[in-house]
């Protein structure tokens, strides 16, 4: 009963602040993220899916515990996924702040850091924290990054160091 309330609450909150978006609710089991499952979509095409083990609703945003977000492009093709121990989603603009043990995955690449901001209007992710990026048997270290739209490219800043694994 408790779980159902939370799901409905999140569903209503997001739906209320996203007039152009159609938010659908699903209850699915997905490797440890079965508590909450939200689908944010534009028309028939999914924009992102959010799974969280627990949530706390606040005025402008929703606090997420142990969550995962799957991103899609305008064609509905999966572009990447974001996981974190905790985070926030802004009800108004759907921006996401992910914190602690944050992992951003795109195809075969993975990025590890302590904080990531997802800007939904631009479909980009960024951070000012230390990052470790694994790609094509290489690893790159830096301080701060910003992705291109739909995670298609990544700029890593700081004194960047990289090399073969």
């Amino acid at each position: 009963m408790e779980k159902s309330k939370k799901i409905i609450l999140i569903f209503l909150l997001i739906f209320g602040f996203c007039k152009k978006s159609e938010v659908k609710k699903k209850e699915e089991k997905l490797s440890g993220f079965e508590k909450i499952h939200l689908i944010e979509s534009r028309g028939e095409t999914k924009s992102f899916e959010l799974f969280a083990k627990n949530v706390v609703d606040e005025e402008d945003s929703v606090f997420l515990y142990d969550f995962k977000v799957i991103f899609y492009d305008s064609q509905g093709v999966k572009t990447g996924e974001l996981t974190g121990d905790s985070g926030w989603i802004n009800k108004k603009n759907l921006n996401i702040l992910a914190r602690k043990n944050v992992i951003l995955k795109h195809e075969r690449e993975s990025l590890f850091t302590e904080e990531i901001v997802w800007i939904d209007s631009l479909k980009i992710a960024k951070s000012d924290k230390d990052v470790i990026f694994y790609h094509e048997n290489n690893v790159t270290y830096g301080k701060g990054f910003i992705t291109g739209k739909n995670l298609k490219e990544i700029i890593i800043r700081g004194r960047v160091k990289g090399g073969g694994e």
């Binding site: 795109h106 195809e107 075969r108 690449e109 990026f133 790609h135 094509e136 048997n137 290489n138 790159t140 830096g142 298609k152 490219e153 990544i154 700029i155 890593i156 800043r157 700081g158 004194r159 960047v160 160091k161 990289g162 090399g163 073969g164």
Partner: protein, 295 residues
């Protein structure tokens, strides 16, 4: 040049102020900016920016800006470098300078094949080795065998202070310590000059051999023979030895032309390029005239 080999086969780590990584299917495109530093612990590459392609079967890239490659025995600087680890080759562009233990090479473009230890230089080329300067447009060199060939030669200078001897030819075969000139060969040093079909310059001995209808010109005459040996000292032609069928044509003090035919003539030149001594006339009457031309 062995360090280029290390450069091309070792796995590098890199540093930069920022990198842009564009992951493609099976290929990473890495654009690095600012204070690029690539190294394997032995060879250090620096540059202003780099473009790196990496995948399971591609490992190559470009380095731009003030590119510098430093190793234990060699240092290369240029404006742009292209490398391919898998093809084992590297190319260096614009104001290329390769500084080795014994020689320096300046060129517009150098391509280096690691597997064969072979370099191809093109454009405005200057090869400096101790006092020798080779100016040319095309040079190939095998660093392992220390052999190569040089085409489109402008000139070869043997320089010391303000003194220089210039050598010319259409083609040079380079061997350890020896340069073989062929085609319209000429040698010019102060008041002396020579020409022939081929010229062999032995660096350590500071000796040049003119062959193939050789003619050697000096202030007061000229010498012809089957072979002319020229010995240098302090970047001047100190001694000329006309071997085999020798023909020496000289002007006396009275501007009389004297022709001396003998088997071997050795002549020594003074500071002014004049003959100060001649050997090889013991059995000919020409010795009389030699006394007259001595100053």
């Amino acid at each position: 040049m062995n360090l280029i080999l290390i450069l091309l086969v070792a796995k590098f780590s890199y540093e930069a102020d920022s990198v842009k990584i564009i992951p493609k299917k099976g290929l990473d495109l890495i654009a690095a900016k600012g204070n690029i530093n690539l190294n394997d612990g032995k060879t250090f590459i620096t540059g202003d920016s780099a473009l790196i392609f990496k995948s399971s079967d591609i490992d190559s890239g470009f380095i731009y800006g003030n590119v510098s490659i430093k190793g234990e025995e060699i240092e290369i600087s240029c404006k742009k470098a292209k490398y391919s680890f898998l093809n084992e080759e590297a190319e260096f562009f614009e104001n290329v300078r390769v500084k080795g233990k014994e020689e320096s090479i300046f060129a517009d473009h150098i391509k280096y094949f690691t597997k064969k230890n072979f370099a191809v230089a093109r454009g405005n080329i200057l090869i400096e080795k101790e006092d020798i300067k080779i100016f040319c447009k095309e040079a190939n060199y095998d660093f392992k065998k220390k052999r190569g060939n040089i085409n489109l030669i402008e000139k070869v200078q043997i320089v010391s202070g303000d003194k220089e001897i210039n050598l010319y030819g259409n083609k040079i075969e380079v061997a350890p310590d020896t340069l073989y000139f062929t085609g319209d060969v000429r040698i010019e040093g102060g008041k002396e000059s020579g020409k022939g079909d081929t010229l062999i310059y032995v660096e350590k001995e500071e000796v040049a051999y003119l062959k193939g209808n050789p003619v050697f010109y000096f202030e007061k005459g000229n010498a012809k023979g089957e072979e002319i040996e020229l010995k240098f000292k302090d970047r001047k032609i100190e001694k000329g030895k006309i071997l085999k069928k020798s023909l020496l044509e000289i002007l006396t003090e009275k501007e009389e032309k004297v022709i001396i035919n003998t088997y071997i003539i050795e002549s020594f030149f003074d500071e002014e390029g004049n003959i100060k001594n001649l050997k090889g006339f013991d059995k000919v009457e020409g010795i009389i005239f030699l006394n007259k031309i001595k100053k």
